[in-house]
Each structure stands twice: as C-alpha cells, then as structure tokens.
Symmetry: C2
Subunit: 213 residues, 2 copies
DNA sequence: TCAAAAGTGTTAGGCATACACCCATGT
DNA sequence: ACATGGGTGTATGCCTAACACTTTTGA
C-alpha cells in the first residue's frame, strides 16, 4: 500500500487580498523549500478523509478550520522517493481570515508564513507540484464566489451587503458592481434582512443581513 | 496505511442516451449487489494514479480507455470493513461508446452490464456510495458539454456538425438549438472545416469538420 | 415532388455592466 | 455644508433560446 498524506492549501483573506499559507520544509525531499502544510493519514486517529484534514490543520495551526473542501488527489511512484516507493496526497482547500491565524512553526516545519497568491502562483521554487495545486485552489475558490455559492460557515452570521461585497472582491481580486451584486443576491434569495438590525459608522447606517437557510 | 482502491465510473454513449457500466459483486461487502468496477492500487505495477485507473479498466474491459478524469477521493474507517480497517477509493470517470465495449465478466465480478444513468441515479440498492458517485460523474460530464470543453480524444477525428450536436444531446439528455450550437462553435473557433470533405446520406451532403488544435 | 437533413437569418428576453442618482448619518 | 458609504433606478450590450426560412440531395 502507498504512503498516504493529506495536504491543505489554506487560503487567507486579508485587507490586501488572498494569501496562501506556506511552510519551509526541514527534511528531504525539497528540504529548505516552501510547501503546503500537510501530514500523514493516521488510520488509528482519523475517522475519514475530511477528519484527517481537520486533524492535520489542528496540529499545525491549533485552530479548527471551518471550511474544508477536497481539491484533487495526486500520487505516483516518484512523488516522495526519500520517504516511500509510492506516495499519494489528498489535497484540501481551506478558507480563513488571516488575522484569526497566527502562523507558528510546527514539527518538521521551520516556519509558517502567509504569501500573496499571485506571488505563489508564479514561484517555480515551491516543493512538489504545490504551485499548480495553489493555482487550482485559487481558481476553484474564485469560481465559487462568481457563482455566489458562498462557503456558508465562512461568511459571518450577520453582515451588511457592503461587507459581503468587500469580502467577495478581496477573494476575486477585482471590483464588483454594487447594483448587479445586490440584484443577484435578491433574485436568488440568498440573503435575508434581520429585522431592526442596523449597523452604523461614520455614515448612513446599513441594514444587517444573514444567509438564507 | 489504508487499503487503497481505484474505482471507475464508465459512462457509455448509446442511441438511447447515457449509460453506466455496473458489475455484480461476488464477495463481501455488498455481495450480490451492483457496483462500479474497480481494483486495488498496485504500487509494483502502477506508475501513477492515472495509470492505475487505466490498468484496472484494461483488466476489466480489455480496452484502453481514452478519456479518464479524476472525480473525487473518498475514504473512511468503515468503508470496507470486510477487507480492511481503513479503506480509500480514488474515483475516476471514463467516457466510451457503448457499442465499442462488450461487457464481459472479470475476476470477482459476476457480470458487467450497462444501465441507463437515470435508473442508476435513483437506485438505492447500489453498493457503497456508488449512486452518489454516478450522479457526480454525470453532472460533471454534462457541465463539460455545456461549456463545450469537449473531451478531445473522445470525439471522432472527423465529424459533421449534425453528428457533433447529436453527440452532445445524447450526453445532456435534452435537445439543443441548432443555430445557437453552431454559432458558439464558430465564435469560439472550436472546429475547423476540412476542405473538400463532405458527407452525404439520403439528403443534402454536410461539411466535415475536425477539432481546432 | 416530397422527405430529410444542412445551413442561415431574425427576433425577443434574460442577465450583466456601467453609471447616474438620491438617502442618511457623523463631523 | 460635505464627505462617506448605503441603497435604487436606468440604459446598453451580449449571449442565448426559439423559430422561421432557404438549400441541396436521394428517393
């Protein structure tokens, strides 16, 4: 049987756009190079694949990731020759707020750091095929936002439409039209106003919404 | 390490629409029930995951499948308790012409048979979660046709536009508008006429096309 | 002359973009 | 007053579905 690992592409949302969490490898293969965090599937600990991904990220980030989605599985004889004659990796994507995660080094990782996705997608020095995996994760995430199939559990329970739009724009890396955005939400009945709840700053107060169940 | 298998959801195109290839299981678990064909990953034989899927189908169908695409990976502690304490399956989808494959029983399968996808998708007696996997395969395949990202290598090297449209319609299970279909092909420059090549039946001859490289 | 399939044009509607404009509040 | 973000309306263009119509062959 092959050597089975789980890798997680953690995308982080920040003011400046999408970032990806990378760690610097300590051991071969690709020692010293940057890679997605991951870990070995433990059949004694993990109930299923999703649970394995959650456990691996728990250990690395001491934070239970709210939104995991399987991306792809890669495997071949030559993937990880230093450790096994045949290696298989199930790759997940997670989505978090950058300021809710403090990158701290774990075992077998010299350090964890956020990197802008544009930079990571054009960095040929990443370990394994992780550059391609990051590109895949970013693409899929942006497709989801385009289709407005929002990762429930990731968006806050209450928000103004302006906040929701800003969230989508930061993921997409481009501006959206306010009118079209709101019409789409309304037509598809994706959000519902919370009666009486308003949120005001130094300007006109905004209606607070929640996701339609 | 877990027990690793590869399952293949072979979709077959026939006059009457999409079909899926199912086999009747001989051994536990789910002995006697119908399931997707598959096999164990052999790290001594398979170079990578795609090669494993091709080998497994070679053994079952004595036919090298032209178009394989990974769908998803499922795994848990309880998936295949009769054979292993932890089982993982990488699921692929293939696309073939029904009349090019003669279903013949292989080892550990009492028989192989084509079943219409509509029927399979509502059959609660299929083994494992294979009903869901079939639904996923059908959905993804139809999405590809909708987007006109045709599986090159599956469509014949030369065809008339009528033939191509009929192919898409059989996959989708619904009729398409001739004019819209052709305009889309033309606008996106997906096909190219083969000079001088015409195909005639008992009616007006049609221009023969090939896929734009 | 007719049936059948190829191939073309025309119209109407839905959806997205762009942009203009009013509204309510704190400073 | 005015800057700021909330909220709404309108015009335009693109894509698509629907359908009508002509063309070319064999029977």
């Amino acid at each position: 049987m092959p050597f089975v690992r789980v890798e997680v592409c953690v995308l982080g949302l920040s003011e400046s756009g999408l970032q990806v969490l990378l760690g610097q490898r300590e051991a071969a293969p690709f020692a010293g190079q940057w890679a997605l965090p991951g870990g070995v599937l433990r059949i004694d600990l993990d109930e299923d694949l999703d649970a394995a991904a959650r456990r691996v990220m728990d250990e690395r980030l001491s934070l239970t990731l709210p939104f995991l989605r399987q991306l792809v599985t890669v495997g071949s004889r030559t993937r990880d020759l230093d450790r096994a004659p045949w290696a298989l990796s199930v790759v997940y994507r997670a989505l978090v707020w950058v300021d809710q995660v403090q990158p701290l080094a774990g075992k077998r990782m010299r350090g964890l750091a956020w990197r802008p996705v544009e930079q990571a997608q054009s960095d040929a020095t990443l370990a394994f095929d992780h550059r391609d995996l990051i590109a895949l994760a970013v693409q899929q995430t942006r497709d989801e936002v385009d289709a407005l199939t929002l990762p429930s559990g990731f968006v806050p329970s209450a928000f103004t439409l302006g906040e929701l739009q800003a969230l989508c724009e930061r993921i997409l890396g481009r501006a959206l039209d306010k009118s079209s955005f709101r019409r789409k939400l309304h037509d598809r009945a994706l959000v519902r106003p919370i009666e009486g709840a308003m949120k005001g700053g130094a300007n006109r107060p905004a209606q607070v919404f929640e996701l339609q169940r």
